[in-house]
């Protein structure tokens, strides 16, 4: 772990905030993708049955 000197908390804070936001965005996108995919499968199933 490089010695960040007196700016350690600044640098770590910046990285933490940024990576945190990116991780949140990725997770939200993945969850929504899965949810919509499931909805679509269910609906296509219904359409195929009584189509």
């Amino acid at each position: 772990m490089p010695d960040l000197g007196k700016y350690t908390d600044t640098v770590l804070a910046a990285y933490a905030v940024s990576l945190g936001l990116i991780v949140v965005l990725v997770i939200v996108s993945l969850m929504r993708s899965a949810k919509v995919k499931a909805q679509l499968q269910a609906l296509e199933e219904k359409v195929r049955l009584d189509g």
């Binding site: 804070a13 910046a14 990285y15 940024s18 936001l21 990116i22 993945l30 919509v36």
Partner: protein
């Protein structure tokens, strides 16, 4: 060679991106990790800024992507207006939140980085302020999409808003410059031109920029596919109700 517009057909777009998305995602992760690790662990401190220079590996790429995301949305809006292809409108809708997050990251890292240099978290510096304004544009764009039920009306209205917004974003960019000289670094950290900062910082920066671009691409592809599927869900359910 199949013309570019065949990919504008949503079904075909989803099929082709089935193969592309995993590849781009992996590449994005690789670039991001190497760029950030290289920059964070293996570069010396700056003689003047000390270790805070390491924030460059996030601040500059995210700022670049914040602007390019809006430009991509502008192009996608133009394609929707001219060629009426659903995928480009949905891609613009998908890109907006990613662009917003990139802008927020650029703002956050800029403010945090500025604290030791300028002594305050928030200085009304032209570049930071124009990012603040860009955030407002993103919020407005996303809010308009969610406020309208009919997909195609929403696509039309948001694409026109994007066009008009871009002109005013540019105007604000220079109005803000006029309004306050600014404390931001000079050309060495300019967001548009190539960095001419010392080489040892330069290469990891390029890799992390590539990483951010690929991350943006992967996220937009993922979210566009979700928007297409969501649209398909709406179409099928309205058809269900019609019978």
């Amino acid at each position: 060679m199949t013309s570019l517009w065949t990919y504008a057909n949503p079904k075909k777009f989803v099929e082709t991106t089935d193969k592309v998305l995993p590849f781009v995602s992996v590449l994005a992760i690789v670039c991001l990790v190497t760029g950030l690790v290289w920059g964070f662990f293996f570069t010396p401190d700056d003689y003047r800024q000390g270790s805070t220079v390491k924030i460059i590996y996030i601040h500059v790429p995210s700022a670049l992507m914040a602007i390019n995301a809006w430009l991509m949305m502008l192009v996608a809006s133009l394609i929707w207006i001219v060629r009426r292809h659903h995928v480009s409108a949905l891609a613009a809708r998908a890109a907006a939140p990613v662009g917003l997050v990139m802008t927020l990251i650029a703002l956050a890292t800029g403010a945090i980085w500025g604290q030791p240099m300028w002594g305050t978290y928030w200085a009304w510096d032209p570049r930071l302020t124009s990012f603040l304004i860009l955030t407002l544009f993103y919020f407005g764009y996303i809010a308009l999409w969610s406020a309208i039920e009919n997909d195609d009306t929403a696509a039309d209205l948001t694409s026109i808003l994007c066009l008009v917004g871009s002109v005013f974003a540019l105007l604000s960019r220079y109005a803000v410059n006029f309004w306050n000289q600014g404390l931001h670094q000079g050309a060495s950290l300019s967001l548009d031109k190539e960095e001419n900062v010392a080489d040892v910082f330069y290469h990891p920066l390029l890799v992390s920029i590539a990483g951010f671009v690929l991350l943006f691409l992967a996220l937009v592809l993922l979210r566009t596919r979700t928007e297409i599927r969501a649209r398909r869900v709406r179409v099928l359910s309205t058809r269900q109700r019609m019978e």
